[in-house]
């Protein structure tokens, strides 16, 4: 059980939840959240949006019953968190890294960017964000990071520069990630993609979330959610 510090409506159907938390977590990991008893039955996987000074933040989009119930939380409420789960993005020394996200998939990239800058303050981050329409989240990223390129309503994948030495962390709609993984393969760039699958256990026990890879089925919750782009078999 963790205490809710805040749960603000960002815009549209997007909310930012802050909870008290003390523990270790890595960028790209996620928690299974629930603030209900049996309805719905399962917890909901949500990525770490940010974590600092005992405050863990989740940026989430209301799409169904679970996220709707999350959106009703108010300061002081209790919430159940299980995790952190998953492998997360790798903590690379490499100086230049590209982060590419679309829609609510930008959530894990915020903490990824912050962590990458923390371990190497001289790092150059190129951040590509795709949105359907104008969003206050653009400013949230622009205040935190320098090279933020935003595309509204178009295809962000076209703007990314793929080179052999590029390292790209991506999270977003499947079509977007598939495109980036393909371009990465063609150009020799290294892509780390954070995969989304329905999850039941979150710990690797149920095989409900497996993802097809060139090395056989992998559990998205435990072996992922971050996989090498050329490992994932799409479709």
């Amino acid at each position: 059980m963790a205490k809710v510090k805040d749960n603000v409506h960002v815009h549209d159907n997007i909310y930012l939840l802050s909870v008290e938390y003390n523990g270790i977590c890595k960028m790209g990991q996620f928690f299974m959240l629930r603030c209900w008893e049996l309805d719905p039955l399962l917890s909901r996987p949500i990525s770490i949006f940010d974590y600092e000074d005992g405050e863990l933040k989740f940026l989430y989009q209301v799409v169904g019953k679970g996220t709707e119930k999350l959106s009703r939380l108010v300061k002081g409420d209790e919430i159940t968190l299980h995790g952190p789960y998953g492998n997360g993005f790798p903590y690379l020394e490499k100086c230049e890294i590209t982060l590419a996200g679309g829609g609510i998939g930008i959530a894990p990239l915020f903490y990824a960017g912050r962590e990458l800058n923390r371990i190497n303050p001289n790092r150059k981050l190129n951040i590509f964000l795709g949105f359907r329409e104008k969003s206050p989240l653009i400013d949230v990223f622009k205040e935190q990071f320098q090279n933020v390129i935003v595309d509204i309503g178009g295809v962000i994948t076209d703007e990314i520069i793929y080179k052999k030495e590029s390292v790209i962390y991506t999270c977003g709609p499947e079509v977007m990630m598939q495109k980036i993984c393909e371009e990465g393969m063609n150009s020799g760039a290294t892509v780390y993609a954070s995969v989304e699958k329905r999850m039941a256990c979150g710990v690797g026990a149920c095989l409900g979330c497996t993802c097809k890879t060139v090395n056989g089925n992998k559990r998205t919750c435990k072996d992922g959610p971050v996989f090498l782009g050329d490992e994932i078999i799409y479709g």
């Binding site: 049996l38 309805d39 719905p40 039955l41 399962l42 917890s43 159940t80 299980h82 329905r198 999850m199 039941a200 256990c201 979150g202 710990v203 690797g204 026990a205 149920c206 095989l207 409900g208 979330c209 497996t210 056989g216 089925n217 435990k222």
Partner: protein, 300 residues
């Protein structure tokens, strides 16, 4: 803790709480939460003779108080299981139950022969997988096919055999008796109920396989009735399951006739469920002066 110690066939379980097949991997996935040696027993994910990569498409879907799954018995095959996982499992100080499925009697027999060389607690014979040879019909639907696979497996296996019954059986009492008569050492029930969900936007089943298996609290009242009916009709011990989420649910299943109980879907709701159920049963026995939990088996 002796109040919870139970005998099941010829094995001693620390407590009657066992985690169900397919919800606990090969025993190591909940290590961050608690030491699995605290459990009465662990059932492995279902193993088949040959490796299986499972079903494509969506594999899980929630329903009111229930969970539909269509994993499709993804597993590394019996040989790889023995090499890669069984050794790992043996380090856990609890009764190891290996769940074995198959499409043909031959597959069951070959799997049993390979497992004969291993140390393990008991075999849970999963007779609810689609049986290709018999025309898509599972062994667990009709009493005669259940009897056949049970007696053939009993002949080759040196391990004790607990047959896991399907709630989709035509007649759960007949099939239970048929398995007992064919030499089953114990019975476990229930596996998942054949069920479905439709994606009304796509106008198609949520699952590529059309139907899936329903588990969780939703099925509890039906599972409990089946356990009670079987208990009244056989003399071999029973491991009951189906929607157990609290220690009170566990007591209901024990009173209905289960010597041990299994917890499946509830592991997903709260990873600590099995431990909470064990604690709850302990307090219940203490508070009610029940010397041993087995005294409650079938009291209703």
């Amino acid at each position: 803790m002796d109040r919870l110690k139970v005998k099941f066939i010829d094995r001693t379980f620390k407590n009657p709480v066992v985690v169900a097949s397919g919800t606990y991997g090969y025993g190591k996935d909940y290590l961050d939460y608690y030491d699995p040696s605290l459990l009465g027993g662990i059932c492995s994910k279902g193993i088949t003779l040959h490796q299986k990569s499972g079903n494509k498409g969506i594999r899980i879907c929630e329903t009111p108080s229930g969970l539909l799954n269509s994993i499709g018995l993804e597993n590394p095959g019996v040989s790889k299981f023995i090499d890669a996982y069984l050794k790992e499992m043996s380090a856990i100080d609890t009764v190891k139950i290996i769940n074995v499925g198959g499409n043909t009697i031959d597959e069951y027999i070959k799997a049993m022969e390979l497992l004969n060389d291993c140390e393990l607690g008991l075999i849970e014979l999963n007779i609810s997988c689609p049986n290709v040879k018999e025309g898509g019909m599972a062994f667990g639907i009709k009493a005669d096919s259940a009897a056949e696979v049970t007696s053939k497996v009993k002949k080759v296996s040196r391990h004790k055999i607990m047959v896991k019954l399907s709630p989709n059986a035509e007649n759960i009492i007949d099939i239970a008796k048929a398995c007992e008569d064919s030499g089953a050492d114990a019975l476990s029930l229930v596996n998942t109920f054949q069920a479905m969900a439709i994606d009304i936007v796509k106008k198609e089943s949520v699952f590529e396989n059309m139907y899936a298996g329903l588990s969780g609290p939703a099925i509890k009242p039906i599972a409990l009735r089946m356990v009670n009916q079987v208990y009244k009709n056989v003399s071999i011990p029973i491991m009951g399951m189906g929607g157990i989420t609290t220690w009170q649910d566990a007591v209901e299943f024990i009173m209905a006739g289960s010597s041990c109980i299994q917890i499946g879907t509830a592991n997903f709701i709260d990873p600590m469920t099995p431990i909470k159920v064990i604690e709850g049963l302990k307090d219940y026995c203490l508070g009610n002066n029940i010397e041993n939990i087995s005294d409650l088996v079938g009291v209703i």
